[in-house]
Chain length 206, copies 2
Amino acid sequence: MCDYQTSKSYRVRQAPKRASYDRALVHSILDEGYVAHIAFVVDGLPVALPMFYVRDGESVLLHGSRKSRLVKHLVGGAPFCLTVTHLDGLVLARSAFHHSMNYRSVMVHGRAERVTGEEKTRAMALITARVRQGRPSGERPANEQEAKATEMLRLPLVEVAAKVRTGGPLDDEADMALPVWAGVIPMQLVFGEPVRDVASVPVAVA
Amino acid sequence: MCDYQTSKSYRVRQAPKRASYDRALVHSILDEGYVAHIAFVVDGLPVALPMFYVRDGESVLLHGSRKSRLVKHLVGGAPFCLTVTHLDGLVLARSAFHHSMNYRSVMVHGRAERVTGEEKTRAMALITARVRQGRPSGERPANEQEAKATEMLRLPLVEVAAKVRTGGPLDDEADMALPVWAGVIPMQLVFGEPVRDVASVPVAVA
């Protein structure tokens, strides 16, 4: 897979040594996440909203109420910035200046496309499968009214940049002998034990 | 503590029943997080960047390189939107339409203030303490050059809104008997075991 051919204006400016345009890396960061922050502009002012998403090949799918401000703006062709960030750890250095954090992030700029017809049904199924986390399907699919109330958006992966920091502190040579704890406190988003809804009827699957 | 007196244009529009302007709730959501997504507008286009932050009373502190695009824009008085989101779980319903997620988010709109002088030293110490996670201090403080390269920004908590979803699926009555697993898969950001930097000199503290 070749790298993303991201335009200069959408490439990483700050600490470009941590930038990557590698397609497999971008996919892996997106595939690990559930919530993206979608920024758009309303009357000249920025708004960033957390949205559930799923990657579908070379695009990201979002869904939302047809009446929502984000959906209205994006359907209307407003530019978006999608950012997905995984915080992997706090990095404690031997100097305050070199304290840092480990993270993997992806930023995508562009304009969204409305997903309709059979593509919409497929997109909704992808979102549903992502929520379900491998559990067997069996939930009632959206009826006509529900599907009508839900807008599906496709955000193309064209103007894409990843930024990643890994590893331990990068201290100045002169600070290496300071008697202070230095290292990484790892962080991770983990799943807990599923909690079955009390009103449930008996089913075979956990 | 009285609620935030958030202007109408910055109140939650979508699913307002999940909105809150409660000060203690907003503080607790902010205090649990490490990374905020900061949206701002560059040449009419939205940008959302992940930034380390710490709450300081009725404001949020950010730091960044003086040369960074975000810092330049915010120091220049550009409006921001700060969003902090905790994903607490995936909610599996008995119908696709009612699948959801549990989350706690805070959104803040406004313009940042530059922090200077003694206030800047104090703000930098708050950021450092947040990274250190209760470990004893002892790292070398920023020297003059490092402090000069770092800009500290204060984002006032005035136009503030929280949005929270908790609990199990909210299914339609007609779907309650469907033989499908329904409930919540909890999610949580957890710390792992600290990994000491191999180049460290012996210290008493873990």
